[in-house]
Every structure is written in C-alpha cells, then in structure tokens.
C-alpha cells in the first residue's frame, strides 16, 4: 500500500515539476528573448498592482485560452480533431516517468529510487513516447481539413522521422559506453571518474560527437525555430492552424514540455543526470584529497538541485538557439538530417565500437 502511495507521490511530483516548468517557460521565453534583444518583455499584467516581473502573463494567457471559442472547421474529422492535441500533450508528459530526478533516498528501511517508473528499458520507453507524440501532430494536420495544416503535418512527419533516426543513432554510442538502457543505472555509471579521478565520466566527455548530434536532433524534435518547418509561422502556420482556445494552447504547451523533456534527457544522458561532481553517496571526495562527509538526505537534495540546474542550463541553451538562429529551408533541413547528421551518428557508433574493443 505504501509502495503505491510513494509511487503516486513520485509521479505526481514529476508531473507537477514538468508541467510547472513548462508553464513557466512561456514566461522564460518572453523574458529571455526580450533580454537578449535589449528589450524588457511582457510586464503589463498586474494583480493588485503587483507585476512580479511579468509572471502573471502566463496566468493571463491561460485564462484567455480557456475563455476562447473552440472552433471545429467544417469537414473536419471531429473525433481525431479533438484527440490530436491530447495525444501530443499526453505522450510528451508520460515520457517524464522514466527520467531519474535524484539518487536513492533512504527512508527507514526503504530505498526509494527518485524515478517515477524504474524501467529497465527506460530509454526505449522515452523514445517510444516521443515518437507517439508525432501522431498528435500528424493527426491534427490530417483531421482539420485544411491544406496548410496538412502540409504542416507532412513536414512534421518527414522531419520527425529524419531527426528521430539521428537521435536514436546518436544515443547508441552512449548506450554502448555505459552498457545499459536503464537510465537510473546509466546515471549511476556516469558517477565514475576518468583521468585519475579528475574528470567525471559524463556522456559529454566520453561521447562529445554524440552530444552535438543529439543536441541538434533534439532541437529539431521540439519543432522550434531553427527547425520550425511544421509550424512555419511565416508561411503556412502549420499543423495547428485550425485550432483555437485551449486545444491550441495544448499544442503550444506540448512544444514547451518537449523542450523540458529534451533538456532532461540531455542532462541524463550527457551531463550526468543528478550527479554532482566528486559527490559520492557518503559525501564529497575531492581529487586533491579533501573529504566532506554528508548523510543521505543532503546528498539526495544536492542531486536534485544539480539535476534542476543542468536542466535549466539546457533549457537556456535551447531557448538561446531558438531566439538566435534563422530557420532552415526545407531542403537544407532534409540535407542536414539525412546527409550530415545520420552519417555522422553512424560514424560515431563505429568509432565507439572500435575504441571500446581496443580498450578492452
């Protein structure tokens, strides 16, 4: 019984965290783009005279979305049309279940893995869920009986296939190095040290090429600006052109949730997840000989904090990318995906295999 309660608490916590960060991202996006373009950004929404740096704009947006008319175009397939935003939204959220957010917490006799679902195929599960999210996008375009939406969803399908292959091939290297699909175990193995104990064995240090490839493919996966062909705000408006109200809001939020998901995944695979440099389960062991003993709870809290900081860094990076680069042309996008990233990731797999065999 208490097992179920703990699992419920964990999954609610993960869900609330993912959801909260994604909601906050609407604010982050506005403010970050404003600050890097020498502007101030949204700061007009007030509650009782408090502006709170424009944080209330997220609430105002939410209320606006909820109070708008939900429009279903003539000739649309109503069932699929209503289903699509939920698909894209839900699968993006579900994938968070397999991401470890912290170390093992010891409460009394119990050891709790801070991971909503400790699957031994966590990575495959996440990729499956991310691929399912594409269905939402494709169905939205196909069911809304609009040529532009259809075009957008076709582009989305082509782009997702091209970049998900690269994504999968890029993490092959990481899987080969750490020899597991279980993300919690993978993070544990990332806690080892190389170069005489100075350099943590994080994915970014053992698989730098895979990191760059994964970063690019992940940015494409979120369907945001350098890769926003499915949306194409400037020309076709994209697969959600016929959506209004909260259903549009869900697509919008799904993009942001995917950004958080991709950031969390990159953290887990390449930046050591919840690992803090030189922190072992019983305290800090510095390579220059220092030692600070810590009990279990501060270690776990430090781990969660470190995970959060790393995720924030990747979100910042993805946002910077989104607000810095112009978008690709469609043929450039396909060229990059199929002719550059995919061969590079295959080369990475081959190189990794050779190096692993040589090191044995």
């Amino acid at each position: 019984m208490s097992d179920i309660a703990i699992k419920l608490l964990l999954s609610c916590g993960t869900l609330a965290g993912a959801f909260g960060i994604a909601g906050l991202l609407t604010w982050v996006e506005r403010k970050q783009s404003a600050v890097m373009q020498d502007r101030i950004g949204a700061n007009r929404a007030t509650i009782f005279g408090f502006k709170a740096l424009g944080l209330f704009h997220a609430i105002a947006d939410f209320l606006k979305m909820l109070s708008k008319e939900e429009f279903i175009p003539q000739g649309a397939n109503k069932f699929l049309f209503n289903l699509a935003p939920y698909l894209s939204f839900t699968f993006a959220l579900v994938a968070f279940a397999a991401i470890p957010i912290g170390d093992r917490l010891i409460v009394g006799i119990r050891t709790i893995d801070l991971q909503a679902a400790n699957l031994n195929i966590a990575l495959i599960f996440i990729f499956a869920m991310m691929s399912m999210g594409v269905y939402g996008v494709v169905l939205a375009g196909v069911s809304s009986n609009n040529n532009y939406a259809f075009l957008g969803s076709m582009r989305a399908a082509a782009q997702m296939i091209a970049y998900e292959i690269t994504m999968g091939a890029a993490i092959m290297g990481v899987i080969m190095v750490f020899n597991t699909l279980d993300l919690q175990m993978l993070v544990h193995r990332e806690g080892a040290y190389m170069l005489g104990g100075w350099l943590p064995k994080w994915g970014i240090f053992v698989q730098p090429l895979a990191f760059i490839l994964f970063l690019t493919a992940a940015a494409a996966e979120t369907k945001r600006t350098p890769f926003d062909l499915p949306e194409g705000e400037a020309e076709i408006i994209g697969y959600f052109v016929e959506y209004s109200g909260m259903k549009f809001g869900m697509f919008f939020l799904a993009d942001l949730i995917e950004t958080v998901l991709v950031a969390a995944l990159m953290t887990t695979l390449f930046l050591g997840g919840w690992q803090v440099p030189y922190l072992l389960p019983d305290g800090f062991y510095f390579p220059w000989g220092g030692h600070i003993a810590l009990s279990n709870i501060p270690v776990v809290l430090l781990g969660i904090l470190s995970f959060f900081i790393k995720v924030s860094f990747f979100i910042w990076l993805l946002m910077s990318v989104r607000w810095t680069f112009p978008r690709f042309r469609y043929d450039q996008l396909m060229n990059l995906g199929w002719k550059v990233l995919l061969p590079a990731s295959l080369v990475n797999i081959a190189l990794t295999a050779v190096v692993i065999i040589l090191l044995k």
């Binding site: 600050v35 020498d38 101030i40 910077s320 607000w323 810095t324």
Partner: protein, 200 residues
C-alpha cells in the same frame, strides 16, 4: 584585354589552376565561382555552420548576460544610469522628441488669450490636404483687420507637411505641442475646432 570579364576569367583560371590532371573538378568549381561573381567560396570549416553558430550564440549570450546583470542591479537599486534595455516604456516614459519634429498643431495666442490668427487664409490656401477651414470675421480692434470666428482643422486629413506653419505671416499656427497620440474613436472627433486647437 581591357574587358573586365576576360580579366576575371584569367584570374579565376590562375586561382583554380585549371591545367592539372583533375582540372575538370576545378573547372566546375571555377564555373560556380564565375556564376557567383566575386563571392568568396566558403571553406570546409565554414560550411559546417559551426563557426557561425558559435559566433551567433556568443553574440546573443553577451547581450543576454550583460542586460540580465544590469536588470538585477536595477532591482537592487544600483547602476540606474546604465540602461539594460534600449526600449522606452511608452505611456509612462516618452522618447525625447526632435526639436524640429512636426507634431499636433496649436493656435498661438495674443496677450489677451485671443488667437493671433488674422484669418488671412494663407494656410487654408497652401494646405495640400485641404484640411483647414477658416471662417473669418471682422475684428473689433481697428488695428487688426480680421480674426477667425472658427478655425477647423481636420487631423484625419492632415498630412503633417507643416506648410501652414511655414506660410503663416503672423506665427499664429505652430506644430510644436509634442502631442503624437491623436487617435480617436470616430472621424468626427478627429476634427479640431478653434477651442481645441488653443487648449494647452
């Protein structure tokens, strides 16, 4: 030999060295360069996008962290004279206007608060948009011939050319109020009469 095309062709031939065994490869390259005019061929490293990606992120990040730092300093009340954003928070904070900027008109006044205008009709005549309509009347003071009984200026038609100001012999109309937000909900309220034009 003065032909610039011929000269350029020779330059390209020299540059790409089209004589060697793999000349056909370089010939294609040369043709491309010829078509692209004087555009420089990108090197392999430039073609990977990586240098431009890094310099782009570097530029925006520089702005981001500089502005973020100053925003935080402003919040604690430091460095208020260094601006963290180039924008003006418009209704509260207005941009300084140029001294010669033509803004909404006003009718200047005499010492007794009557309009300086003598209803000479110069502005009405010169106005290219025909937005001024003056009704002249006899002035009680014999030294002043006429005065405007009504002075209608339709801002909906006005093109802000400033000819009325240029042409006025009495300095009676000016465009120096600094008022830019003359928007209204109806066309009728865009029409300004004498009273409105003389309000400060």
């Amino acid at each position: 030999m003065d032909n610039p095309n011929q000269k350029r062709r020779q330059e390209l031939e020299k540059y790409f060295d089209v004589q060697g065994p793999f000349a056909f490869l370089r010939l294609a390259q040369m043709k491309r360069a010829w078509r692209q005019g004087n555009r420089r061929q990108l090197t392999w490293w430039e073609n990977t996008y990586i240098p431009t990606l890094i310099s782009g992120i570097w530029l925006t990040s520089k702005h981001f962290f500089r502005n973020l730092g100053f925003h935080i300093l402003h919040l604690v009340g430091l460095c208020k004279d260094v601006r963290a954003a180039v924008t003006y928070q418009y209704p509260e904070q207005k941009r300084p206007l140029g001294l010669r900027l033509r803004t909404r008109h006003r009718l200047t006044k005499r010492e007794d608060d009557s309009p300086r205008c003598v209803a000479c009709m110069m502005c009405e005549t010169v106005c290219p948009a025909r937005c001024i309509e003056i009704t002249a009347a006899e002035h009680p003071d014999p030294n002043i011939e006429k005065y405007p009984a009504e002075f209608i200026l339709d801002l909906g038609k006005c093109v802000y050319c400033g000819f009325c100001v240029e042409v006025c012999p009495e300095d009676a109309i000016r465009m120096d109020t600094g008022i830019l937000n003359t928007s209204e909900y109806s066309r009728e309220s865009m029409i300004y009469n004498k009273k409105r034009l003389m309000e400060e």
